[in-house]
């Protein structure tokens, strides 16, 4: 099977769905690039080249460059979705939600409920998130907990290239508004990705490792770190189950509970700020539903409650590391790191 990057997997998912369904359109700032300029058409394909090549195939009528005007075009995507298109809007960095959130959560996310079940809003918002790019405080956050909190939205956080393609195709075919998170550090990560179209259902966690001693629930890029730790500790006789929830809304509560009931120990790794993040949510879930199964206190591995710093030395300290995850796993096993 061919190896493809996270970036290629996303590009391929978009292209395949646009070929399959003429109502799928793409919009965002510089998703093609060069609009109205004298130089190259398709100059950018998004700031990191994820949508490169789509405009030449599908044309400017379906690959829409926008002004830097998130309120208007994210809202337009919501309105288009409610009236018969399947728009994929790119919110370049999720940090920009502050200038368009109303259109996402008050409008798109609530249409169906407010209108008594009569609205269908098949909207996808793709957005970059995550630290490690030296992009500083306003281009590095992991704001998926904000969206997870909001009824009416679905929140998807793929952890690899294979996952990204199947989850994005599912997102585009899904009839509800979906926020699709892409970790900007992962775009060049490669793995085997089928050429064919496939879908991965939402709300179905993936067990990327299975072991008897500790359950590690990890989100997005943190799944990779958790896998590294699980592989290392397997040699040391500590068996880890790594749970990738894939979607934080819906959340596969049953799989998490079952894994904790089997291992009796839980470490949650979340790159989002620690207060009211996905780690606290899962911790509360397990405390409520599987308290008696726990052999040790739950450990959460998160950044500190600070903005994302710029300096490399600080940012590296900020991001949850495999070392910190290993320390947490060893601590719930009762051993000192």
């Amino acid at each position: 099977m061919p190896k493809k990057s996270f970036r290629q997997a996303i590009n391929e998912a978009l292209a395949m769905e646009m070929r399959r369904d003429p109502t799928v359109i793409l919009m965002g700032e510089d998703v093609a690039g060069g609009m109205g300029a004298a130089g190259e058409d398709d100059a950018w394909g998004g700031p990191l080249g994820v949508t490169k090549g789509l405009m030449p195939e599908f044309g400017r009528d379906r690959i829409l460059d926008t002004p830097i005007s998130e309120s208007a075009f994210i809202g337009a995507a919501a309105g288009a979705a409610a009236t018969g298109l399947r728009p994929v809007a790119e919110l370049m960095f999720v940090d920009f939600l502050g200038v368009c959130l109303d259109q996402i959560y008050n409008q798109a996310g609530k249409f169906r409920y407010m209108f008594g079940g009569k609205a269908v809003t098949p909207l996808v918002i793709r957005t970059m998130y995550g630290a490690g790019f030296r992009a500083a405080s306003q281009h590095s956050q992991c704001l998926y907990p904000v969206f997870t909190h909001m009824p009416g939205l679905k929140v998807v956080i793929p952890s690899s290239a294979y996952e990204a393609k199947g989850l994005l195709i599912q997102a585009i075919r899904d009839d509800d508004p979906v926020i699709f998170f892409e970790h900007k550090v992962m775009y060049d990560d490669e793995e085997e990705v089928p050429d064919e179209a496939y879908t991965i259902p939402f709300g179905e966690a993936n067990l990327t490792r299975e072991g008897d001693d500790v359950t590690i629930v990890a989100i997005g890029r943190m799944v990779q770190f958790a896998n590294q730790v699980a592989d290392k500790l397997e040699g040391a006789g500590i068996g880890c189950t790594v749970v990738d929830p894939r979607t934080t809304s819906p959340l596969d509560e049953e799989t998490i509970i079952e894994c904790v009931e089997e291992t009796g120990r839980l470490v949650i790794v979340d790159e989002a700020s620690p207060r009211c993040n996905v780690a606290t949510d899962i911790s509360a879930l397990v405390s409520e539903r599987a308290f008696s199964a726990l052999k040790a206190p739950i450990r959460m591995v998160t950044p500190p409650h600070t903005p994302v710093p710029f300096a490399a030395e600080l940012e590296d300290l900020y991001i949850p590391s495999p070392e910190r995850i290993e320390e947490a796993v060893r601590s719930v096993m009762g051993a000192q790191a």
Partner: protein, 369 residues
């Protein structure tokens, strides 16, 4: 190779995708005499945990890899030598091996790779291994399978055969349109495939539904079939485990798939995580569920086998053998009873519906023999 010499036992490459393997259990103690072909350890693979038969004979002097350890393909996992060889020589051999061992580059260009091929307007996928002038063998998988299912067989048979494995429509990397296909249609397609790749006649090996397909071809176009090996074949009776077929066609979740796959083996513990993952990935592809349901309706109408060819077996002029696991829970082993005299029947104990995986060594010997 003399028993006295020091011989390396290395991690085998089972299947194209295998880059490393995990030794899940040793079955021979250090110091024990081992025969060539003796089962000496278990290795986890992308399908099942498989027993590894020793390629060498001698005394197992060292287990280089411990249970639970994962090493690359080609890595030293054990050392056999005559009992009289000094320990120091064994140590020197190991040191030398490890110093010179280079992990085989997982270079896709170097490894044989499945290719797409269009046959009778349908896009199939196939893989050929072994000497091109070797006697041809064609491996035909069953319902829900694919050419990767022959991972323990194709490389071994390819040592002295030209071995073809293909994906039937709806399966593996073949197109997912199965409109108009039943057992007869698949048999005709198989003949067209042989024509397309330039095989006149071949030893056909068919598993389960693939068994019915190869049998049908042997009946319809005997000139295509020099020899026929049927593995837990369909086509010899009306009954089959229709709950499995329907369940497999509809399964989505991991647990559901796991419990279904476990029905295929006498020892359900053999089913590996990777096998479940691979099946789940296949089931997620666009069109697969529809293809499996359509194929199931076509070949197993009303939950019964639609084409029973039992009475035609005796008319076959080529050598025919059937291999059946005693614990087959999908196609009833009773269908193997009372076959005509021209069919040689081999029962495999403690083996389920997948003898080519669960008893790969035996099956390989019977196919090659």
């Amino acid at each position: 190779m003399s028993e006295a010499a020091i011989q390396a036992i290395t991690m085998p490459k089972w299947g194209l995708a295998m880059e490393e393997g995990k030794v899940s259990a040793w079955m021979a103690e250090e110091g024990a005499a081992i025969a060539g072909g003796e089962e000496i350890l278990e290795i986890e693979t992308t399908k099942i945990t498989n027993v590894f038969e020793s390629p060498v004979a001698g005394v197992l002097r060292r287990r280089v890899v411990v249970e639970g350890e994962t090493v690359p393909v080609g890595a030293l996992i054990g050392v056999a030598a005559g009992a009289e060889i000094p320990d120091a020589d064994i140590e020197a051999f190991i040191t030398d091996f490890q110093a010179n061992f280079v992990v085989e580059a997982s270079d896709a260009a170097a490894a044989p790779e499945a290719e797409t091929i269009t046959v009778a307007g349908r896009q199939l996928s196939h893989l050929r291994m072994g000497p091109e002038d070797g006697p041809p063998v064609v491996l035909v998988h069953g319902f829900g399978g694919d050419l990767n299912g022959w991972l323990f067989n194709q490389p071994v048979l390819a040592e002295d055969h030209s071995v073809y494995a293909l994906d039937l429509p709806g399966h593996g990397r073949a197109e997912k349109n199965v409109a108009g296909l039943d057992v007869a249609g698949l048999a005709a397609l198989l003949a067209d495939y042989m024509e397309a790749v330039g095989i006149g006649a071949a030893h056909l090996v068919g598993h389960s539904l693939g068994g019915a397909v190869t049998l049908k071809l042997a009946i319809d176009q005997p000139a295509r079939v020099s020899r026929l090996t049927l593995l837990s074949p369909a086509g010899l009776g009306e009954e089959l485990n229709v709950a499995y077929v329907k369940g497999f066609a509809g399964a989505e979740g991991r647990k559901e798939i796991k419990s279904l796959l476990q029905q295929l083996f006498a020892d359900p513990q053999l089913v590996s995580r990777d096998m479940i993952n691979e099946v789940q990935k296949y089931k997620r592809l666009d069109g697969v569920t529809a293809a499996l349901n359509a194929l199931a309706d076509a070949v197993f109408p009303g939950g019964r086998q639609g084409l029973v060819m039992r009475d035609q077996l005796a008319t076959l002029a080529m050598p025919v053998q059937a291999i059946w696991g005693r614990d087959d829970a999908i196609v009833p082993p009773a269908h193997g009873e009372g076959l005509p005299d021209n069919v040689t029947l081999h029962w495999l104990e403690r083996t389920g519906h997948m003898p080519h995986m669960e008893a790969a060594g035996d099956v390989n010997r019977l196919i090659a023999g």
